[in-house]
Symmetry: C2
Subunit: 235 residues, 2 copies
DNA sequence: ACAGGCGAAACTTTATACAATCTTCGCCCG
DNA sequence: CGGGCGAAGATTGTATAAAGTTTCGCCTGT
């Protein structure tokens, strides 16, 4: 009874049973309740969601395509364990794409969107006040996705969804301190720049925001072996 | 070791039956033998490849995630028909990503890679000499993918694979003349810049190359309706 | 005591059968 | 003669069962 029905965080087609499974597992991974390397048995998930393995399988395949689950032949599905090299690639891609996304978001600005952004910031502050780490991690990712939706570019949105999901895993694996994943201050500053319609400032804020997130990670190459070894010894 | 999640999207092992189906259908679409809107019946494909519907279904789902196939509930799978808006998004994304990819490719240059690029150019010239439109379309797409592989960035490579597949459909739908999709000259100039290690030139060549491809398309918004209508009347 | 192989259990993979849904064609009515 | 309604056909969505593969435990031989 971990995550049976997500309230209504994001639901373009949550009526589909496979979508419900996919979003449930995604939420569990993004909220760091499922750790990298965890095995995702088909029967196990099927029992939780009351669905047959056929549906679980399609959901897992979609997650594998998104890069947050690895499917090994005849072995099963596991929560992905991005390497430091993967982490650098993901953040480089985000630094390339997200400033452009903010640009387009400003072009598509509207009172409705500004309202949604404002409500989101409130939610983030609320979660941070309660020290609710899980909600905080989820919301900080959703902020970036919200801007991508605002931009109206479905291609960029699809790419960013993948990058955000992977980022969540990366932050879990490699962050130095227990500082909250995304400083809410940055998000507020980005929204301010969007409100003003200042593209240059928005791009700059987004870029420095992403740089700061990556700077809080420990991405030395040897770290991979250390972590791998520690896991093996631990389990 | 960084070789962990390789067998995810493309063809390290085409021995998998589902991979063979996916690549067969992909090739048919990219070579313009399957036109946009064509219905892809599950039994139909299953008979062709001698596979059960289960395998066909997973292959089609992967293709849907790549964006070259649309799956409509209780209707079936169809070759995607990108709108002019989609087309603009795809090419904008390519103009954003590919110059950066070339940059990294130059960083990762090696005699082996230069050899592969040279051999590819030869293949392209060969196909163009024979006026083999199908091979020409396929090879011009593979050129861009080759550079992405050369860059070593798996994230960019994955994104670009999607963009190239969609581009092939877009070019088929919206090109003005019957000029070959990608001028081989541009590709040769890009390789020359890579050989020299001139990043600025390579980025510039890539950018103008992409611009030229898009400039040969007819992407007026009303054109969508015209084309849609023409198709209905034609079929 | 330890290395190597044998066998059973669990899992994924694949195939088949059933149910739900949409499309199409024919018919009836206005 | 045109349009709406209804049943047959076809196709997809879902579930279940059979088949193949890997892994782990256990036993035997040295």
């Amino acid at each position: 009874m971990a995550a049976k029905s997500q309230p209504k965080s994001d639901a373009p087609d949550a009526s589909d049973r496979v979508s419900r499974i996919r979003e449930g597992v995604t939420a569990a991974i993004l909220e760091h309740r499922l750790l990298p390397g965890t095995k995702l048995g088909e029967d196990e998930i099927g029992d939780i969601y009351g669905a047959s393995r056929t549906l679980v399988r399609t959901a897992l395949q979609q997650l594998a395509h998104e890069g947050i689950v690895n499917i090994e032949k005849h072995r099963g599905a596991f929560v992905a364990r991005p390497s430091p090299a993967d982490a650098r690639e993901v953040f480089e891609a985000r630094r390339l794409i997200e400033p452009t996304i903010v640009d387009h978001a400003i072009d598509a600005v509207s009172p409705d969107w500004l309202d949604r952004l404002g409500r989101h910031l409130t939610e983030e502050r609320e979660a941070e006040r309660r020290c609710d780490a899980r909600a905080s991690v989820r919301l900080s990712g959703e902020f970036h996705r919200l801007i991508a939706e605002m931009s109206g570019h479905s291609i960029y949105l699809g790419f960013l969804k993948e990058l955000i999901a992977r980022s969540s895993l990366i932050i879990l694996l490699y962050r130095r301190h227990d500082t909250p994943a995304c400083g809410t201050n940055h998000h507020a500053e980005i929204v301010t720049a969007i409100r003003k319609g200042d593209k240059v400032a928005a791009r700059g804020q987004m870029l420095s925001h992403l740089r700061e997130i990556e700077a809080e990670l420990f991405l030395k190459d040897p770290a991979a072996d250390e972590l791998r070894l520690a896991d093996v010894l631990g389990a």
